[in-house]
């Protein structure tokens, strides 16, 4: 059998290299698009041959790499990773179409960075060796940093630096956690290993409870900052807002932190010295993120900033679903990641269109755009509805699973989150009403609707939101299989 997962990393990487050496914008975007399409085709093939009913690793690859340190080249996917890979490979080519006509400096580097980013993110999703995982995890930083730093808005230097420092420090803390579990298991078993499944299985055998908690918290910190969760979120609004549209979408596709929660945090959570405390921490941070993100979004003037805060609010559902710790709440959290990626991609694209045509993102300076841009208004409306959780769209599926099934475990936080949903609906509708409906603001001059290049990708993603909202099973089923396995860990302990 072909090494599918290696190819899935290598194809974007190789195309990224080729793109770097193209001479013109036309060449760069075509090469990049071909690369993204090839990756998409491969991931679709893998998706259709993927066995949703099995929680074990599939397409596994295992080669010895640095045996003296127990490091191996170990790849594999399961129901946690597969939907996220699919999300990434679907949205990236669409995003390339969306940016097809954009004029910017150094297009070859721009497209090369996008593909490099894709390779790094997929690398994180498929790595089953902590060493490899960490390498890819760090590699995701570099394209994003340059994306913001070069093609960003007026405040780009500050935003990119802040993003970099925040998340780099967080990953270093995470690295400490990795070292902790690595050496603890080395001392116990007498041989080194960086294998993720092996190390996770060794975690309960670590005798020192303090050490177990320390490792857990270090890893959790790394993921929470990247996710981000309140109170470690302050890099996000700056970075998302200053990034160009493609950069914002790349940030949205950076679902590695939530992935880490499912892959690493939840399997070891039952073996910390006080699991119920850890669950409360997760639930509290989730609920606070949901409420805080919604409240701050309500008060934003800048549409892009509002969306950035709504993103924090939505990611809170991931933490809350994890805190629920039953199969359905965890699957809900996983589905929230998938759904959020689709929804936010359109949201940022819409804001990009609005800013490009009207020259402003300030909500109060817009108004009545729907009359001039009907196509955009339809897609935006659908997305905003999905984002606020209208039944029949993906956001609803995710949130209802999280809320309904987390209630048993963390009822207080679910009630807080329910309250926040009202605010969520409010800021979405209010923004929509002020920006898109009502009387057209004549100061904006003559604006035209979205171009074909922009409309098609947005429409495709919108259809996906509708499709997965009505029929989540194609991805939900595999998520459920994996979450069942995670939740069974907790059940064994009877906590």
């Amino acid at each position: 059998m072909l090494p599918f997962l290696s190819l899935l990393i290598l194809i974007p990487l190789i195309f990224s290299g080729i793109t770097l050496f193209t001479k013109s914008r036309e060449q760069a975007r075509v090469v990049a698009f071909v690369g993204a399409l090839a990756t998409l085709a491969l991931s679709l093939y893998m998706y259709f041959t993927f066995d949703s009913s099995s929680a074990s690793m599939q397409f596994e690859e295992m080669r010895s790499w640095i045996p003296s340190l127990g490091i191996s080249y170990h790849l594999g996917v399961d129901g946690i990773a597969m939907p996220l890979i699919l999300l990434n490979t679907i949205v990236i080519p669409l995003m390339l179409i969306f940016t097809w006509d954009d004029v910017r400096s150094a297009p070859n580097r721009f497209y090369a960075l996008i593909l490099a980013m894709q390779a790094a993110v997929i690398g994180v999703f498929v790595s089953l060796d902590f060493f490899l995982f960490y390498i890819f995890w760090e590699l995701t930083l570099i394209p994003l940093f340059f994306m913001v730093n070069i093609w960003g808005g007026p405040n780009k230097a500050h935003a990119s630096m802040k993003f970099f420092i925040y998340t780099h420090v967080a990953s270093l803390v995470m690295l400490l956690g990795i070292f902790g579990i690595y050496f603890a298991s080395w001392f116990q078993s007498g041989f080194p290993s960086m294998d993720i499944p092996y190390l996770l299985s060794q975690f309960p055998l670590i005798e020192d409870g303090m050490l177990r908690d320390g490792i857990f918290l270090a890893l959790l910190f790394g993921f929470l900052v990247k996710m981000p969760s309140v109170p470690f979120h302050s890099w996000l609004p700056d970075a998302y807002v200053e990034a160009p549209v493609a950069g914002s979408v790349l940030f949205i596709l950076l679902k590695i932190a939530g992935y880490g929660m499912f892959r690493v945090i939840l399997p070891i959570l039952p073996d910390t010295s006080n699991p119920s405390l850890m669950i409360s921490i997760l639930g509290l941070l989730g609920a606070v993120s949901i409420l805080y993100g919604a409240l701050v979004a309500l008060s934003q003037q800048d549409l892009k900033r509002m969306i950035a805060y709504s993103s924090i609010s939505h990611m809170g559902f991931v933490s809350l679903g994890c805190a629920g710790f039953v199969a359905y709440s965890i699957s809900g959290a996983m589905f929230q990641q998938f759904s959020h990626g689709l929804i936010m991609a359109i949201m940022f694209m819409s804001v990009g269109v609005i800013q490009a045509t009207t020259g402003t993102r300030i909500i109060n300076e817009l108004g009545g755009l729907a009359s001039k841009m009907p196509k955009l208004a339809v897609i935006m409306m659908l997305t905003f509805m999905a984002s606020l959780g209208l039944p029949g769209l993906t956001g609803f599926v995710a949130e209802v699973n999280v809320l309904a099934f987390s209630y048993a475990n963390v009822p207080t936080y679910v009630i807080v989150a329910l309250l926040a949903i009202v605010i969520t609906a409010a800021y979405h509708l209010w923004a929509m009403q002020r920006a898109m409906f009502g009387v057209y603001n004549e100061k904006l001059g003559d604006v035209s609707d979205v171009s074909m290049y922009q409309l098609v990708p947005m429409a495709i993603i919108a259809l996906l939101i509708l499709y997965f909202g009505l029929n989540p099973n194609p991805v939900f089923e595999m998520m459920l299989t994996s979450s069942n396995q995670i939740a069974s860990l907790m059940a064994v302990l009877g906590v």
Partner: protein, 482 residues
Amino acid sequence: MSDLMLIAPELIIGITGLIIVLAGLFMGRSSKNALGYLAVLGCLSAIALTISSFATTGSLLAEALVIDALSQFFKLVFLAVALIVCIASIKYTEGNDNAEVFFGLVLFGTLGMMFVASANDLITLYVSFELASLSTYALAGFEKKNARSVEAAMKYILIGALSSALLLLGISFVYGATSTTSIPGIAENIDVLLNNTVGILAIVLLIAGFGFKIALVPFHMWAPDTYQGAPSVVSALLAAGSKKMGIIAAFKVFIVALIALQADWKIAFAALAVVTMTYGNVVALSQTSVKRMLAYSSLAQAGYITMAFVVLTPMALTGGILYTLAHGFMKGGAFIAVGAVVYMVMAKNKDSEVPDHLDSFKGLGKKMPITAFCLMIFLFALAGIPPTAGFMSKFVLFSSTIEAGLVWLAVIAILNSAISLYYYARVVKYMYFMPAEGERFSEPAPYLVALLIALAGVLAIGIWPEPFINMAMQAAEVLLPL
């Protein structure tokens, strides 16, 4: 005869050096280029011999020299650095009437370093130390009409003489207390040294003596000026090679001879390591001269390596030793890349005041694409970004620190490497994201060959570290038998 085979690499380097110096007397200015190729050939054959005889052990000259995995590993580091320096210097010394002196000095300096790696006796160690130092003093001042180069050499000589004096004084105290200069002999008589006030003084002097060579804070003042002022190829030799000589000497003296002191002096080494890496990184942040920045980053890197003395487990030593090799490639490569840029700047404007200013790097990705790419990889390697040698060696070294329970030290080191990323990335930003001024410059071939060799080294250690880790482990076992 078999004894001589043990030091065959040294003999080759020494003889090549002599031939070059002598042959240079009879050659015209234009044909002296051949000498460079001869020096490269000498380095290559010495490397081949060292690798082929790796892990053989033996001693000669009444145990004044021992050959083992440790000394051979460091010889490889020195030879690799000498190799890339010699290759790049073929261009640097082109048309220079004193080319034979330059190559002769590089080879003699390398010879001194190689003998330090094998020295098993403090006197041998000191003499070899001086051989290397004297050669590099002259090299630093090689551009005798360039005030900066002369200034660099003067500072280097004065501070170097002081450190040699301190070292010699320290050795004499050690000899006075233990009545031997043999390193294993000192280890046997360590009690005498410990119960003697002179012993403490001796150790302080030794730390200072080696500290100057390694450029540990507070013995570092000469390094930035010297690295900046000296010709770039010489800076590469100093930072990537001669600094390692201090490290191997310190390994031998402090780990083999004075291992019993380890517990008492741990905190002193920890303080040196922390202060050195933090100071180096913080000061590097504000530099606009790239060579000076590399000099400060070199301080920081020495600080990381010093952590191996603190942790002192086989794994930490493996990490420290691997780091010296990795550092040889990345720092040597970085200085040579800067050398290529300086060459370009000087070719356009002979009177450039600070040819290695950050502004010279604007748009380098367009002007000198291969040099810029190599430099970017070296800088990322220095910052510890995977998959490079810098990441791999930091990984082994830092993880060993955690293994030993010194989490605080690891945290400081990790935060330091996070800081360092800022100033390395700044150079990359200048190279790739600032508009180029001027046309594409045809990159001089010798520099390119040297850069590509260093690049191959950096990537090989990063991607396939297993053989290098094994070699470093064998070397570490010599220091700290399991």
